[in-house]
Point group: C2
Chain length 157, copies 2
DNA sequence: GTCAAAACCATCGCGAACGATAAAATCGTG
DNA sequence: CACGATTTTATCGTTCGCGATGGTTTTGAC
């Protein structure tokens, strides 16, 4: 282990990795993934699949586009994911009668039932964070604010 | 609107997507990706490749394992990524003489030169966030704290 | 010195994310 | 009504991320 890395004063140009807030977000996201993985494995779900189901538990019968708008994803990501959820028996995919372009995603009975099992998940996450809900809420709001600022900046490009 | 549903006894209700701090992190991470993409495209880099180079600009000649420890990635992710950086001419990959198991990653002259071009990137990100540096710093610290708590919880499992 | 255990990296397969592109349905304008 | 433009979803190729596994080198116990 080469212990001495005196972080030379040589670089006012490029900040270190630990100065990047994007890396803090990136690595926190990664850490959430590691916490969620064992919990979701028991449900046979991946993390993005879980997020899709959360939106459907909130509001069933959404189109692919509507789900994508909520999750900031597009059809090239969602279509294969939704096909897997269909293969697992959690949802159905049917063309909308009034507009054949749209595909409506509906929970099956099994998909609805999964919601009960999934109620154990959020408390486990809160427990793993070990923070009071006020702190979490504030952090969440700050992140949403940051996200909106970033997306606004991208849109203006 | 988003009254946090208490995970009370037998409450079958699942919090909405917008109540999940993990989703705030997930979507903020994606938003960063969208901001970085056009900036890094000019350098011919992806976002993870850029993160690897940032660590190497900080300290050249790290092993694959050392880079992984910093970025929370493992060889199965890093090896192909580093091979691409090698193919691009930014780094070299050589077995360590004193321990043939380790692979040392060193910047090429071209890889070092890229650092100058990349100095334009961080100011663009700060600009896109539109937040004062104190707010950013505090948010970053909170995220690092959250990350450490989550990883600690995983390790205790 | 020997040999099993550990460390380190590479490989494989799968799911996720996205740019580019295509195909089909619908809409809007003339 | 006709027809080009738009909307919506799907497909393809590339990169990332990770679990599982394998191969080589080093370490450690005896």
């Amino acid at each position: 282990m080469s212990q001495l890395t005196p972080q030379a004063t040589l670089d006012p140009e490029m900040p270190g990795l630990l100065d990047f807030i994007c890396f803090a977000v990136y690595s926190a996201n990664h850490a959430f993934g590691r916490v969620y993985k064992p919990l979701l494995e028991r449900l046979g779900l991946t993390y993005p699949q879980y997020l899709v189901l959360v939106t459907l538990w909130e509001e069933d019968g959404q189109t692919v586009g509507a789900i994508g708008q909520r999750l900031f994803l597009e059809s090239n990501t969602l279509t294969p994911l939704l096909k897997r959820l269909e293969a697992l028996g959690h949802v159905t995919r049917t063309r909308a009668a009034h507009d054949e372009r749209q595909v409506v995603i509906r929970l099956t009975e099994q998909g609805r039932a999964l919601r009960q099992l999934a109620t154990e998940v959020p408390p486990c996450i809160v427990d793993a964070m070990g923070l009071d809900l006020g702190t979490v809420e504030r952090l969440k709001d700050d992140l949403v604010d940051l996200r909106e600022r970033l997306l606004k900046a991208v849109a203006e490009t």
